[in-house]
């Protein structure tokens, strides 16, 4: 005869086991459910967190801001001279585009998405656009200045999981701006990306701009990635490697753009 206490234990244990198995089988809908109910709270927490951290950053970095201001002033002057140069190139480009009947707005079909959750340990973010908005796995995500942020990894009903370019599972072909050098950008985890598979004979220069090469189906050519950092070159390896200094902290962007089609 089973005692009442033991009977209760068996019932509770069986229930827990059933719940665990159900969660394992239905992990995608379970995650989707929690993301849907959490999104409004997380949006609000996100905004409050951003506002408060901006306030504290302003308080603690006054002297740094002064130095940065001086540096930016100098950079601004250099950029002004480049703008003049670019302006003439832009005019030429516009004429060519008109001639080819191509509009800049037709480059990509995009949709705006809001970030509401970040996982720094695993290099991914959650955005508020999902299956119902036409999002599909593999679509690239950029910011408003054509900087590549990552790619869609998992699509839920109203949300998507986006792997940042620093995620270990993300790799894509890149080129060096103004050069014919190609390589492979690979996520290193914890916000770091490195450049690999660049032949030893090619000359890499620290600070050179890296953009997407567009060899993959979904990734358009010319999206900005970052600049070449420390270069690692040994006689034994056939390829050289380099750290990529990203142009922005991809995990702290509020609004992003998902490229639906090119």
């Amino acid at each position: 005869m089973i005692r009442k206490k033991d009977k209760n234990r068996i019932i509770v244990s069986s229930l827990v086991l059933v719940v665990v198995i159900l969660v394992l089988i239905f992990q995608t809908p379970v995650r989707s459910f929690f993301y849907t109910i959490s999104e409004p709270i997380q949006q609000s927490l996100w905004q409050k967190g951003k506002n408060s951290s901006d306030f504290f950053n302003g308080l603690f970095s006054f002297s740094a801001l002064t130095r940065e201001n001086e540096f930016l002033g100098q950079e601004n002057r250099e950029l002004l001279s480049k703008i003049v140069e670019i302006d003439s190139l832009r005019k030429e480009n516009e004429e060519l585009r008109a001639a080819l009947n191509l509009g800049l707005a037709d480059d990509y079909k995009i949709i705006e998405a809001r970030v509401f959750s970040v996982n720094l340990e695993q290099d991914f973010v959650l955005v508020n656009k999902g299956k119902q908005d036409g999002i599909k796995k593999g679509m690239p995500i950029i910011d408003f200045h054509n900087i590549l942020i990552g790619r869609v990894e998992q699509v839920y009903t109203n949300q998507s999981k986006v792997f940042l370019i620093s995620n270990k599972d993300v790799k894509f072909s890149v080129g060096i701006e103004g050069e014919t050098i190609n390589g492979l950008a690979k996520g290193k985890g914890k916000g770091e990306v490195f450049l690999d598979l660049v032949p030893k004979e090619e000359k890499l220069v620290s600070g050179a701009l890296i953009t997407t090469a567009g060899l993959e189906e979904n990734f358009p050519q010319g999206l900005l990635i970052g600049r070449i950092g420390d270069i690692e070159r040994t006689d034994l390896a056939p390829f050289q490697k380099a750290n990529i200094e990203l142009l922005l902290d991809v995990s702290k962007q509020n609004n992003l753009l998902i490229i639906l089609a090119q």
């Binding site: 929690f34 927490l45 970040v118 996982n119 340990e121 990894e153 999981k161 270990k168 770091e192």
Partner: protein, 156 residues
């Protein structure tokens, strides 16, 4: 553990996970984020004697929500927190958590082990992460002490 207490812990860990992934992310430093769920888990484990049932409930609830907001297969973080619970129980028998230095040592070791276990999955170890979370853990310890003192004051 009573069902009402389990429900409160369920809601607590859910809210902590939301805070960790949406609010505290803006206070990350050199790619090291504050692992609030882990720090509260450590605090709850060490602030009083917990039997195996209570400890396992804490570990499952903490791991469950980290699993929900994770990109790995479901159950990985539940397992990781259960391992942490057994390790913490082992350490607690040898180091007293009643004084501040003992608590600091236990906190540091638990965070270090968590990062080492995570290294087995991600092959990435950031010592800065350990230090940053250790400091955050000390702040949380003092906040909990202050809340306890205030509660005692109101109780009189």
């Amino acid at each position: 553990m009573k069902l009402s207490k389990t429900l409160i812990l369920f809601l607590l860990f859910y809210f902590l996970t939301l805070l960790q992934t949406s609010f505290l992310i803006h206070y990350s430093w050199h790619n090291a984020g504050i692992h609030l769920v882990l720090l509260i888990f450590v605090l709850l484990l060490f602030n009083k004697k917990r039997d195996i049932k209570e400890g396992l409930v804490l570990a499952v609830l903490a791991g469950f929500f980290i699993d929900i907001f994770s990109s790995y297969f479901f159950g990985l973080f539940i397992l990781l927190f259960i391992i942490l619970f057994f390790l913490a129980s082992y350490l607690k028998k040898r180091i007293s958590a009643n004084n501040f230095s003992g608590y600091c040592l236990l906190l540091f070791l638990t965070i270090l082990v968590y990062n080492l276990l995570f290294f087995l999955i991600s092959y990435k170890f950031n010592f800065f992460d350990v230090l940053y979370n250790f400091l955050a853990g000390i702040v949380i310890y003092f906040i909990s002490k202050a809340i306890y003192v205030l509660k005692q004051g109101f109780g009189k």
